[in-house]
């Protein structure tokens, strides 16, 4: 039985602008000792999804089920949840400075956290705090334990957060963008530390990030989220080398230096949708080059592809991977699902054109004329109402 079993989790918020559908029916499992990577752009619902599990989204409408060790987190009383949170499920957040209280020493905060859950003497808790700081690689832990958070560097603060997360030997750690605020060399240290400690303690880990590089190094399984839904789930290698969903493919192709990206990056056209007005059908359809007629009206379920690999896309399940040959197969399969000159055909043409021109419209004359550049060859012009503008509607 998986350690954590989330079924059909739906979270929405009432705001003055309308109903924000942050998470729309997400299901996933986390096995003991495994790492689940959750990846997506800002506003894809990845953070709301896990914060809801910890009861950190007050005022939200929540439905679904989240069985942790057989008990539903979403139906626990605040007191029960309090006992689970911190002790059995720990969390590490993006910004370690705002997660630590600036007026208390780091050691005091760790001691307090231990004593909130365990009845042990202050001195024993303090000894444990020093031991933990030493374990996460804080030099001279016995004296640094009395430092305030501002006396720590960014990397050390994140290490202190990891120490705090490990303090009570939890079964599951949720790390939300744990390395985003850190420099590359410090990020490398923190990732190395987390994976080492994870194997040592056999802890399950959920890593939420927008950085495919972090996923490539840590995750066993990966879930890609878009507009509040899981669009593709697979083990790490399958996701990177044999993606099915056009959004996953687009993410991989946008990363500079990745094998998928060539000399010129292939960005995903347009902007992520607002969670108040989510497009009909597949939420990704306005940005997809392979949009078909049914994508506009029908919501694609997660189709099984092979051995735990699922994808919410109507394209034939055998078309997997990256590269021009596969893209051609995708394009012809998609063309077969479109009526000529229908809405889908127009959307697809626009998306393809925007990827190729990258949104550069060279004007006919004017600004550049004086610079002697007016007779340069001009790039193809795209429609004025490109999907790029969709996000500007108030």
């Amino acid at each position: 039985m998986p350690l954590l079993e989330v079924r059909d989790l739906t979270v929405s918020f009432h705001t003055s602008d309308g109903l924000v559908q942050a998470v729309r029916g997400v299901s996933f499992d986390v096995e003991k000792g495994h790492t689940l990577g959750v990846v997506g752009e800002s506003g894809s619902g990845k953070t709301v999804c896990t914060q809801t599990l910890l009861g950190l989204t007050p005022g939200a409408d929540v439905s679904g089920q989240a069985l942790f060790d057989g008990r539903d987190l979403l139906r626990m009383s605040p007191a029960e949840l309090q006992r689970v949170r911190g002790a059995r499920i720990a969390a590490i957040f993006q910004d370690p400075l705002s997660s630590l209280h600036p007026l208390y020493t780091v050691g005091w905060q760790i001691v307090e956290m231990i004593r909130a859950h365990r009845h042990i003497a202050r001195s024993a808790a303090r000894a444990r705090a020093i031991e933990l700081l030493d374990m996460v690689g804080i030099p001279q832990a016995a004296s640094r334990v009395d430092d305030y958070p501002h006396q720590f560097s960014g990397g050390m603060r994140q290490r202190a957060m990891i120490a705090m997360a490990l303090a009570l030997d939890p079964d599951l750690i949720i790390a939300d963008e744990p390395t985003t605020a850190l420099d590359a060399t410090v990020q490398a240290q923190v990732i190395e530390l987390m994976t080492k400690l994870q194997t040592e303690f056999d802890t399950a880990l959920i890593i939420i990030t927008h950085d495919m590089g972090v996923i490539a190094e840590t995750a066993d399984e990966v879930m890609v989220m878009y507009a509040g839904k899981a669009v593709e789930k697979a083990d790490r290698r399958t996701l990177f080398y044999f993606p099915h969903h056009p959004y996953t493919k687009g993410l991989l192709e946008s990363i500079p230096g990745s094998t998928a990206a060539g000399e010129r990056l292939r960005p995903i056209p347009g902007q992520p949708p607002s969670l108040i007005s989510i497009p009909t059908g597949c939420a990704f359809h306005p940005r997809c080059q392979y949009v078909m007629d049914r994508c506009i009206s029908e919501v694609p379920p997660l189709f099984d592809i092979a051995g735990g690999h699922t994808s919410a896309c109507f394209l034939p399940t055998q078309i997997l991977g990256l590269g021009e040959d596969v893209d051609r197969e995708r394009a012809s399969a998609a063309a077969a699902g479109r009526a000529e000159n229908g809405a889908a055909a127009r959307l697809a043409a626009r998306a393809t054109e925007e990827i190729e021109t990258a949104g550069v419209h060279l004007p006919d004359a004017g600004v550049l004329a004086g610079a002697g550049m007016s007779d340069r060859s001009r790039g193809p012009r795209t429609s004025q109402n490109s999907p790029d503008d969709a996000g500007t509607q108030p």
Partner: protein, 372 residues
Amino acid sequence: MTALPHGTSPAAAAAAAAADEDDALLTLDDVVKHFPIRRGIVIKSEVGQVRAVDGVSLTVRRGETLGLVGETGCGKSTLARCMTRLYPLTSGRITFDGHDISRLSPRAMRPYRRQMQMIFQDPYGSLNPHRRIGSIIGDPFAIHGVADGPERKRKVQELMELVGLNPEHFNRFPSDFSGGQRQRIGVARALALRPKLIVCDEPVSALDVSIQAQIINLLQTLQSELGLTYVFIAHDLSVVEHVSDRVAVMYLGKVVEIAERAALYSTPRHPYTAALLSAASVADPDRAAVRQRIVLHGDVPSPIDPPSGCRFHPRCPKAQEICGRVQPDLVPVLADPPKHVTACHFPMADGEKLGPAPAEPADAHPPGIGMR
């Protein structure tokens, strides 16, 4: 420590030799920027200096993209603001297009401001939320008295079209736009006066990956269409690798290595460059699994009291006694071509693997106090 010479004359000579003299658009010669630390309320006394940029010499060639990488607090953003003379220099010389601009008054600086522009990291923080984007993009025209009334509006709309914004959105406010579109507004404003040089300070760091790729492609297209020169600052090494022709690596206020992109990424000479490159995350599970990561211990020391000699020596796996005493010059090493310069006493040979770094720095400086 303050008595140490900056060791720049040979470095400056090498940097000058590295670049084709005629081709230089911007030349920095021993640029220093120190920020005083003051104590006291009524009677202020200077108790120290943050040595943010401490003797940097480099050349930016016409039409190229020079990438500038380094960790938080290494002085790369301060250097960018020195380049565009947004900060007065403590000492040193900046030559732009053949003119010495390092001591010009704000008034005398004005004609040069038209030719050098900046794009900032936070596209929202750099746009006034109470003003319409048409007037924000039109500001450079107003300040420099270039165009007025309907002509200004026409020029602004052309710029908006150039960067992929809908010109009809002229009257909207910054809050009506998404992050990527706000960065396009920043690009449009930078382009307004047809500058020769654009200094981009972390232009894509705040954006999502898919949007980041849109802006990178836009910057590249504009460069080839308009013949722009870029200084591109980022902490994301794969972004810098993608856009740059040459790359300069900074550590604690100094440039430790400059080389053409391919040379720097394939044969880094400075141990810090090697460590930095090895730490970059790779979005490819198989490559990530086989690469050898050099994990540096400790944190970047404080720029208030930087280590003596080579500033990297307390964290360097190859450091020897001389490294703590003598500051190395930025020169070609190990039969490198003149355009590949490194400031290291013991540069890395081709294919050399760095051993583990010293676990505890010998003369431990308090790690990173007051940084970030």
